[in-house]
Symmetry: C2
Subunit: 502 residues, 2 copies
């Protein structure tokens, strides 16, 4: 496949989307394959993005009254079986701990010792409903203990055979919120509040527009009454589920005896919710914005927002320009921006530009002898600030005095332009459709399709089988008019979003 790659080692997006994605992850040093099948290593460039995601989301969770806690990574096998649908959904592919000691092996090496076999195997958590709610049942006694609003930042494991960096790996990082409420109404309000936080985060931090809605029964979380979600469009026109917020009803409360005494003194089961986003968001980020030159990151989540490239031909120029570059760096840092000077010797400015473009630094600041004379520097954004992907980014001159003010403006413009570009892309590939035949044809080119649907899972299955597209979500509000289901023709008020998905 080498012939497909450009000089900087990235396959063209138009030629092989999946290889393009992998090249960007590896070349921008976001993640790497590990020696453990299905598990990835998140490298510093990738992990910094996750830290910024975590901090932004964590602040929003805390503002809305949630607190963080930490529960064991191991789940007793019997716990999984307590909620019938849940075990069906999660028991299949998971890591099972059966022994707790290693001993010398005949012929060298070590092996699990037979006498350390556990009476009950432990599962490495694929999600924590069961272990958490067994504690909730101990902690919650009265309506005064409600709502209980906890969140956990943790690693989870779901054994995967076909993995893809960030998008689907055996181990991944995530947050999982788990709440308990006195009424179904309160729980549903929580489900929607969190979905709004996810949508806000996706659009305002990640610059990724999303649709919000409800999953069909076949796509909901194993054990939930209802799953709500946000869905984003990737640049190949496929959908990516970017976050889910579940109404668990009283299913788990009954399985784990999570009860409370209400104001009248009667015992009632709690109403519960759970919700999560994961390192998968980094995959969504890459696939939403990046191009053939490499990574493109929104300023709010970029590990480095500005890279300063000093340009000089001799030692005298060097000392003057480096001094100025350092002053720019300090004043940007003092104002809370993340900034670096690329002071490496023996590398051409062009080489450096390429590298920082590949790594997705939003703004490059160039400063050369002529700039110094004029008392200016050049801001070069990674994308066109008009929000048009085809337009070439314009360099912007800033006086050295106004560099901080300009920096602030340009990051805000960049964040906005990136969102607009993604929104424009999604709009250009979202269709309202009535004919199933036309749908079958058009889905080959990717895109989102709004179509009326009777609500019968048979139609949903048929679409999946025949087109590989799935029902991504149904909006919260019903349509006013009835229209024929695009598969069977039966009249319905349900309009649904259909797409092929990651």
């Amino acid at each position: 496949m080498a012939e497909k790659k450009e000089e900087r080692g990235i396959t063209k997006r138009s030629e092989d989307y999946s290889e393009w994605y992998q090249d960007i992850v590896l070349k921008a040093e976001l993640a790497d394959y590990s020696p453990v099948k299905g598990c990835m290593v998140i490298r510093p460039n990738g992990f910094r993005i996750w830290e910024k995601m975590r901090d932004a989301l964590d602040a929003m969770f805390k503002e809305t009254g949630h607190k963080n806690a930490y529960f064991p990574i191991f789940i007793p096998l019997s716990f999984l079986s307590k909620e019938a649908e849940h075990v069906e959904g999660f028991a299949k592919e998971c890591a099972v701990v059966t022994h707790h000691r290693l001993g010398a092996k005949e012929g060298g090496g070590v092996e699990p010792t037979p006498d350390s076999k556990l009476e009950e195997p432990l599962i490495v958590r694929p999600t924590s409903e069961t272990i958490m709610y067994s504690m909730y049942s101990k902690w919650i006694k009265s309506y005064r203990d409600l709502p209980l609003l906890l969140n956990q930042w943790a690693n989870v494991v779901r054994w995967e055979m076909r993995t893809r960096l960030f998008l689907r790996t055996t181990e991944f990082l995530w947050q999982e919120g788990h709440t308990a409420h006195a009424t179904h109404e309160d729980a549903w309000e929580e489900v929607l509040k969190i979905l709004d936080i996810y949508a806000k985060f996706s659009e305002e931090w990640m610059a990724v527009p999303v649709f919000k809605g409800v999953k069909s029964d076949s796509e909901k979380f194993a054990g939930a009454l209802k799953t709500t979600c946000i869905e984003a469009m990737m640049q190949d026109g496929k959908a990516l589920q970017a976050g889910t917020s579940h109404d668990l009803g009283q299913n788990f409360a009954k399985a784990f005896n999570v009860r409370f005494q209400n104001e009248k003194g009667d015992w009632d089961y709690c109403w519960q919710t759970s919700w999560g986003v994961s390192t998968r968001l980094i995959g969504a980020l890459i696939m939403s914005h990046s191009d053939d030159k490499g990574l493109i990151l929104p300023p709010k989540l970029a590990p480095i927002q500005f890279v300063i490239v000093p340009i000089f031909r001799n030692e005298e120029q060097k000392s003057e320009i480096m001094a100025k570059a350092q002053r720019i760096e300090s004043s940007l840092k003092e104002n809370g921006f993340e900034c670096e000077i690329d002071a490496r010797e023996n590398l051409s400015p062009g080489f450096k530009y390429n590298e920082w473009e590949l790594k997705g630094v939003p703004i490059r600041i160039e400063i050369g002898p002529k700039d110094l004379e004029k008392g200016v520097c050049q801001f070069v954004p990674r994308i066109s600030l008009s929000g048009d992907e085809l337009e070439k980014p314009l360099r912007i001159e800033a006086s050295l005095e106004s560099v901080v003010q300009k920096a602030k403006e340009i990051l805000s413009d960049f964040q906005e332009a990136l969102f607009k570009r993604a929104l424009k892309f999604r709009e250009s590939r979202t269709y309202e459709i009535e004919s199933y035949n036309l749908f079958k044809e058009k889905i080959e080119g990717g895109g989102f399709f709004w179509a009326f649907y009777c609500g019968n899972s048979k139609c949903e299955e048929k679409v999946k089988e025949e087109t590989k597209a799935t029902l991504r979500l149904m909006p919260f509000e019903e349509e006013k008019e009835e229209r024929p289901c695009f598969v069977c023709g039966e009249k319905s008020k349900i309009k649904a979003l259909w797409a092929r998905a990651y």
Copy 2:
């Protein structure tokens, strides 16, 4: 044991130290026992302390050029065996994953399916040297790639039979730094730089004084050349190892082929370090400061720094006083303090005082009708600000106008007083000793003992066997004079610190 407990449910420290500790952890809702043997649940009050510890340490690591990354939780069995001492130290008690799927079990329930048995078992990481350095060997090519300074915040598992909340649990949270350098000198400098960060954090954030030094060979990390550590004294006179920083030499570099090309073009093995602190620090924090009334926390790590208790007798007083309490709360919050109003109805002020004392809130702010008249409020610190444990804390009046300024001062005074009190306690129980017989007698009462030591591990073993005390550390600088070893009498310049330890 109920007869030992005070009204608020805490055993007296002087009567049963270990039960006192457990009572505080449970009653202050820092952690709880989980249904998984040996694993704990960290509750929001405890987890917030860990978040503050993490943020403070993380900032210090980043300031000194370290970056965060994330490596897989699973380690192939064969990796552990690559460094001979390491496997000896860590392979014994660990969680072994042998299967990756569950299936229906005869008679109901689920069980691991035989066909999902892994070819090579996976270990849940007890520490990550092996998995990380297998990646370092891929990433490091040249001296230009050095130093590589990575850190990871993660959960680790070491199977424990006898556990104690925070101090020794099967799963715990920690950070592990792993660096690679071109020379041994650089690596050693890193080891000491980190040890200084740990000591600074312990003293300035946790208010826990520590000694720094080197472990003896019998106590060093499995696979290291040298282990350095910080040791703190708990209130029962026992030592607690609060952090370690290891000089790994080239041991792991050779086992995992972590090599670089130096400036001359020759290949050389890297010199490595690793270092860590864990949620054990929360145990150290509790054991260093708390008393029979409950938890005592340093302001820099307290989840809540101020609790405002409004006092009123009728509705008219209530509305006026609540309005004032809310104004105090907002202005404290605006100034970056963590503050809460206890507005619960039907609970006496005394009940509230007890509860917040138990939970370790550093400063209680009382405001009642008389205070309002005088335009003041009362600051009541959780400890005496003179730094003397026996003195009763004095209430301090602050005018409502100067509340923010006073808040700042009192937290700073509190932090300092807490450290001084802990230092005074340690000093009062640290002895220089020459006679082994006297040592055997005095060690029964706890305390730290400085004694000359010949350097022979036989003497160390003898001390351990006969007194249960261990060699905690040896200072970095040798003594000027030779003195007789307190066990065998042979002359030596090595002075060592001895104590019983957690």
